[in-house]
Amino acid sequence: MDLSNVSFRYRRRAPDVIRNADTVLNPGDVIELTGPNGAGKSTLLRLLAGLTHPTTGKISARPKIVGYAPDHLPTAQPFTVSAYLDHMARIRGGATWRPWADRLNLTHLVRLPLRELSKGSAHKVALIQAIMCNPGLLLLDEPFAGLDSDTREALPAIVTELASQGTIVVAGDHEAGLHTLPSLRHWTLTDGTLKEPSPLRHPAPAPTPVATAPRTTQAIPPSQPHIPTPNHERDLAPDQTPDPASHHAPGSDQEHAPGHTPDLVPDHTLGLAPGQTANLLPNHTPDSGRGQASGQAAASDPATLSAPAVGLAPPMGLAPTVDVGHPVGFERPEASGRVGGSEGGVVVEVRVPGGEVGAFLARMRAEGYEATEAAQ
């Protein structure tokens, strides 16, 4: 499946939601799509599904059978679970859904009306209708939202199973639920630009001195269940330090190539392996409004570096898309952060401009985090 310079906008004079997305998806690829709220992830999934057409560009070689699970199943339909899935199976040409209901632990609810389902159970129905036909392309919008722990553990195995049969899986996911998969591709959609960060491969010199941010706040998330850490051989090894040059740091050839516009996300990405922390601070480039970052990897307790850190991204929209084995990225050049382990949770240190500290603390506390303002 091939995306050739795909752009999309909702109205004729509206700005592009997606700009010049150009990539190839091969059978068996599993792709995790992340990005801030409103970045266009669901729009991209709908484009991939063929539900909307690109404004410019082309999507070709789309697999014939597409499974699409929206972020929430519309439960305001006058069917029981079994009647609904029976209809979907008939439309699919006689697919069988009951084995999938067993695997997702939904069998005991199939006699219930859709409107009586909880969010998680409704989401299971959405997943079942998407995967029961062995699709060539499976599109999952927030597939882990509301799922119980058993299903959260089962879903990556199901995705792996489908991928092994040649299914292309694209999951728009804020929760990094597929991060245990060894061959996961990671797409980031920010400001309409689709990026796929390359893992770091080169050893690096000593950490680059970092810029001083005005003030520092420290947020300690509440205790969260531990997410198993995978073995990501392709990511930065514990004894490696990232090469700033590989991040297109200021002064690099690529950064100053004629006509080259620095992209925010690749400049701010850093492969992070289990047991590592990242310390990223921006060097501002006032003329472009974009920041640069350098990286520093350090050892820490891998057990404490887990998903709660990711929770910072939705409430603040400024940082970190952090998880074990995934890139660390900052969506705003003026924000920076550090992720480290501590007893009982993950400590995320975020530096924000002075005028935003109050709002940051309020938002973090509203989200249930323990947030304190630290001394400079």
Binding site: R46, A76, Q77, F79, R90, I91
Partner: protein, 223 residues
């Protein structure tokens, strides 16, 4: 396609929205045929039925199409493979339901509303009028469904004013600018329905097809 059509009809019936159209049609038939049409006015009585059921059929179409939530429409499109199949499945479901309602209306008229059986020519002509009423209702309902007009208030007004426009424009000499429903009534009242049917039918059919083509075109940017 057939499975999707069954799914749409099943949702429409299970949601009980079907009664929103069925009950008005039955009430309307009871009023129209409260007094049996005298001998010689069979065409006029049955043409009245065809014209009066159009807004109800449009409402039925709109209601059936709107029964499906927006996100389910996306699921249906991926399930069937193409958006065209999803669109066609919805229209087929509405067409099937409208056909049942129109058949019911015609049957009520033939069985209970006439003092004498109509001639073969008249029977054929009023049957064609009911088929055209089905298509007109389908078109008007589809064009005012939620996927085209998301605002319920605008949608209902568009449906009612669309029907009024049909009635008023077809009174004028420029009746060919719309589905000429008033011209149907005039022709039936003057006994010229069988002879005028080809021209009136062609104009009506052309507008219905144009409306459905417009609906299909609009749906390109409204998945």
């Amino acid at each position: 396609m057939i499975a999707l059509t069954r799914f749409r009809i099943s949702a429409y019936v299970r949601s009980h929205r079907v009664y929103q159209a069925l009950i008005p049609i039955l009430v309307m038939m009871a009023i129209i045929y409260a007094n049996r049409a005298p001998v010689g006015s069979e065409a006029a009585a049955l043409a009245d039925s065809a014209v009066l059921i159009i807004p109800v059929l449009a409402w039925s179409t709109r209601s059936l199409l709107d029964t499906e939530p927006d996100e389910q429409r996306a699921i249906s499109a991926t399930t069937t493979g193409t958006r065209t199949r999803e669109l066609t499945g919805g229209l087929l479901a509405a067409l099937a339901v409208n056909t049942v309602f129109a058949t019911l209306a015609l049957a009520c008229g033939l069985l209970m509303g006439l003092e004498a059986s109509p001639t073969t020519d008249v029977l054929f002509a009023v049957t064609v009028l009911h088929v055209l009423a089905v298509l007109a209702g389908l078109t008007l309902g589809a064009l005012t469904s939620r996927v085209i007009l998301p605002s319920p208030a605008l949608s209902i007004m568009a449906l009612l004013f669309g029907y009024l426009a049909m009635l008023l424009i077809s009174i004028t000499p420029a009746y060919w600018l719309t589905v000429p429903v008033t011209a149907w009534l005039k022709a039936a009242g003057s006994g010229a329905l069988p002879s005028d049917l080809p021209a009136l039918g062609a104009i009506s059919l052309a507008w219905c097809l144009a409306g459905l083509a417009w609906y299909t075109w609009l749906r390109r940017s409204r998945p």
